[in-house]
């Protein structure tokens, strides 16, 4: 399996001198199976440069998996160039929105409205298929099996586990560790703790033993208290999670948009000090735009 990061920034594209090394594009990860089948995780702005590289291998079938419908994970989709060329195929997977009751087609539908984008969906030449997944559902994408797991974010967010030829990867999309909404003196505290533990266990089980874990580490532990409930993890929560599930390597991503490269490396190093490595434990890295890995 091969992975290439095309966008590692959270919230909003952040191109500037200070982010040149790690990159300013929002979330997009290219995954290739051993048969070179194309899987794309999220359609942030990183999908635009990715899509340009696809022009030399037309026709393409792109299996896109959207973790959730927030802008930074979908706003590159209208610029997915293969959609304008006949013969290509896009299969867009994602969750149903329990509030609107609409499936994943909504993420294209809202963006391709006349006032916001010049090309309507009907005018796109590629074949576009939508598959709304249920939590826990497994689908086949070429020779890979992809499983959706419900995580914790202000909107329904699926983490995806991709498995192919005995290799595996898990991408969280956006995820905040679960917390109890009650105080210990409240009557519902214990019930809620039990529910959280159950859910937490299901989430860790879904990630267990992966070769590569790519996780939302937007904040430092110092920043986190004022961002609680925003739906993001910290470097430390991701590191603990990687160790808990026995991942081989963790890539921290969804970098905070105001954080420049030097600062990013600094806060990452600080977190690393709190999670010293030894033989047999996961390796921790920062995800960087353009980084390619093969495993």
């Amino acid at each position: 399996m091969k992975i290439k990061f095309w966008g590692v920034r959270g919230s909003i594209p952040s191109p500037r001198a200070g982010t040149v090394r790690y990159g300013g594009n929002t979330t997009c990860i290219e995954v290739r199976t051993d048969n070179n089948e194309l899987i794309i995780l999220d359609g942030g702005t990183g999908i635009f440069p990715l899509s340009q590289t696809l022009l030399k291998e037309l026709p393409v079938t792109a299996n896109i998996f959207i973790t959730h419908s927030h802008w930074d994970h979908i706003h590159g989709l209208p610029f997915f160039i293969p959609n304008f060329i006949p013969g290509n195929k896009m299969i867009l997977h994602g969750a149903l929105d329990p509030v609107s009751g609409r499936g994943v087609e909504q993420v294209m539908g809202v963006q391709l409205q006349y006032s916001f984008f010049p090309v309507r969906e009907a005018e796109m030449k590629a074949s576009i298929e939508y598959i709304s997944l249920a939590p826990g559902e497994k689908v086949q994408a070429g020779s890979a099996t992809v499983t959706a797991t419900m995580l914790n974010h202000p909107v329904v967010n699926f983490g995806y586990r991709i498995e192919c030829n005995g290799k595996s990867l898990f991408f969280t999309g956006d995820h905040e560790p679960y917390a109890n909404i009650y105080s210990p003196e409240d009557e519902s505290y214990e019930e809620y703790s039990m529910l959280v533990e159950m859910q937490q266990r299901a989430v860790l089980d879904a990630m267990r033993g992966v070769d590569v874990l790519i996780a939302d580490s937007s904040y430092t532990i110092e920043e986190y208290p004022s961002k609680k409930g925003w739906g993001h993890g910290t470097f430390d929560s991701c590191m603990s999670m990687a160790d808990a599930v026995g991942a081989k390597i963790l890539y921290c991503t969804h970098h905070e948009p105001t954080r420049d490269d030097d600062e990013l490396e600094h806060v990452f190093a600080k977190a690393l000090e709190r999670h010293p490595r030894r033989e047999g434990l996961a390796d921790f890295r920062l995800a960087r735009e353009g980084l390619e890995i093969e495993f």
Partner: protein, 290 residues
Amino acid sequence: MSGLSAELNKKLGEAVERMPAFPKSVQKVLELTRNLDCSPKVLVQVIENDPVMTMKILRVLNSAYYSLPSKITSINHSVVFLGLNTVKNIALSIAAIGILPKKNSADFDVNAYLLHSLTTAAIAKHLSGRVGGSDPMDSYVAGLLHDFGKVVFAQFMPEQFKTALEKSQKGEISLFSAEMETIGTDHTVVGSMLAERWQFPKPLIDAIRSHHSEKAGDTVMSACVYAANQISKKMKFGFSGDLRAENLPPAVAKHFGGNTSLDMLIASFEDGELSKILEQANQFAQIDAS
């Protein structure tokens, strides 16, 4: 007809989708959601005190889409699974439908109904905690939703329901029997069939279905809901549209020890416990005068 035709079941299900929630919870949800950092536990409390909101959120959670291995009965569980913001926005979309009118052409007092449902819920939870063998919060939800069929009748079959209410209040006939005569089915059937249509957990469907039947003795939770409903009626907490409190059938009574009568069960509550339950329910059922 003792059941509902598939067509009527579908029609009622769709009608409930458009059914507004109770005034106090609509007001509270609108108020809470104006603030980005609204207190999660207050939001849960508001939803848990409104049968319409609870019904609708459980409907989303238990739909075939989520195909959860174990069904979800509690609003807390909904928040853990779906996330607070999603639950908040579902609640907001329910609040946006409007307010369940206090006056309906069936002359069914929805505030008194709410008070009856809330006290039944709290008493069922209490009994369930005391007896053991069923989750108190599941019993609470079952108590809250046990009479849901009535509010559906009041909204969507007001004339026939009005006749049933009058019949029951005039004569020696229980409301569910009167409903059978005028509507051809009763609120336990309608409530449980909606719960079934929305794939609620089986114990919850059974508790709604059996709350006027000896079958309530089959499980601890159903027995608690049966008994709580009768206690609430006997204590005249709110009004369910039915003046009569029935004694506990032996199958139900055995869960509370031997041949416990309704009066004995009421007497088994500590001093002030039932009035505390009423007081708390009142806080939610009544809309502020201000």
